[in-house]
């Protein structure tokens, strides 16, 4: 390919992107001038607390109004974890790790309980304070990740077997669906918590908001296990 052709191709690509940018600018500018309606979110804000019993509206949207999306994304994580785990080599590969000082090792051991507490807090208080299953799950996933980084892949795999992780993950996902099915058994629809009048309690307390805390827990378990699996598989790849 000649140089002229290269340069032409480069400028052609730049032109394409510039066109796209200008077009988007134009469109967004158009959109700014429109009056926008938000009655759905206004209804959530005004009625949401009574309807779902959760103070954290994001949680109530994620786990109650649009719980089905959450199921979908949980499935996506599970699929990604499964994909990575079958793409990772079966045999343990020697991960390239450096020797850390004693400080690191000790700190990790000390940190772990705090991480557990923090994660559990985020999960269980997800419906009354900032947080929720995803965040908590990520925090919980930090633990095996840290262990893997410092003590090496073999050690962490010994501590927490890959099978157990995928078992946890499956339990999380299945639990989510089973909790949703409770709604059907209560004579309402799938994933119904408020509608199937499971005790919403009075907002702001720990035991309130019907199914939401338990759904949070399931998602937390699932995300934690999934992220840990993903990380370990990637480490094994390297």
């Amino acid at each position: 390919m000649s140089r002229v052709h290269k340069i032409f191709r480069k400028f052609y690509k730049i032109g394409l992107v510039l066109f796209l940018a200008i077009f988007l600018l134009f469109i967004f500018d158009e959109i700014q001038n429109l009056d926008i309606k938000r009655y759905l979110s206004e209804h959530y804000i005004s009625e949401g607390v009574q309807e779902t019993g959760a103070i954290n509206l994001v949680t109530s949207v994620l786990y109650d109004y649009r719980g089905f999306d959450t199921l979908g994304e949980a499935t996506v994580i599970l699929t990604a974890a499964a994909t990575l785990s079958f793409m990772a080599p079966i045999k343990k590969v020697k991960m390239l790790g450096t020797e850390f000082t004693i400080i690191i090792y000790q700190t990790i051991i000390i940190i772990i309980p705090f991480l557990v507490v923090l994660g559990m807090n985020l999960i269980f208080f997800g419906h009354i304070s900032p947080g929720g299953g995803f965040v908590g799950g990520v925090i919980l996933a930090m633990i095996p990740i840290l262990v893997t980084i410092t003590y090496g892949i073999t050690f962490s795999e010994n501590k927490l077997k890959a099978n157990h992780k995928s078992l946890l993950e499956g339990i999380g996902a299945i639990g989510f669906i089973l909790l949703g099915l409770l709604g059907i058994f209560a004579g309402s629809n799938f994933l119904a918590s408020g509608q199937a009048n499971f005790g919403l309690g009075n907002p702001g307390e720990l035991i309130s908001a019907g199914l939401i805390p338990y759904l949070n827990l399931m998602i937390g378990i699932k995300v934690g296990a999934g992220l840990a699996t993903i990380f370990n598989s990637l480490i094994k790849e390297g």
Binding site: L24, R38, L57, V58, V61, A80, M87
Partner: protein
Amino acid sequence: MELPYVVVIILFCLGIYTIIMNKNLIKIVVGVNIVESSLILLLILISFKLGGTAPILDRKYELVVDPIPQALALTAIVIGGSFIAVMLALVIKIYKRYGTLNVDEIRKLRG
């Protein structure tokens, strides 16, 4: 027109440019990441109201930002994250098999 939207557009087009311009697989994945973050930023922006508090109604509030886009953003983040993970795993595999990261040399399938 507010500045943040311009930022969104710049990030979006920057990501697209990275994807179609770069030969390096890792850089392509980075470009994908940039585009996703620009979209998430867009989600956050459209939920923004001036002077609104976070949608956690435990104290007195006058104005609350729109909770739906934040929930959507959370979903989008998770989906995007798992996509990036799979992409990186594939990149590693490709690097092992083909011994290169140049996208133009990965052409066992053609015709």
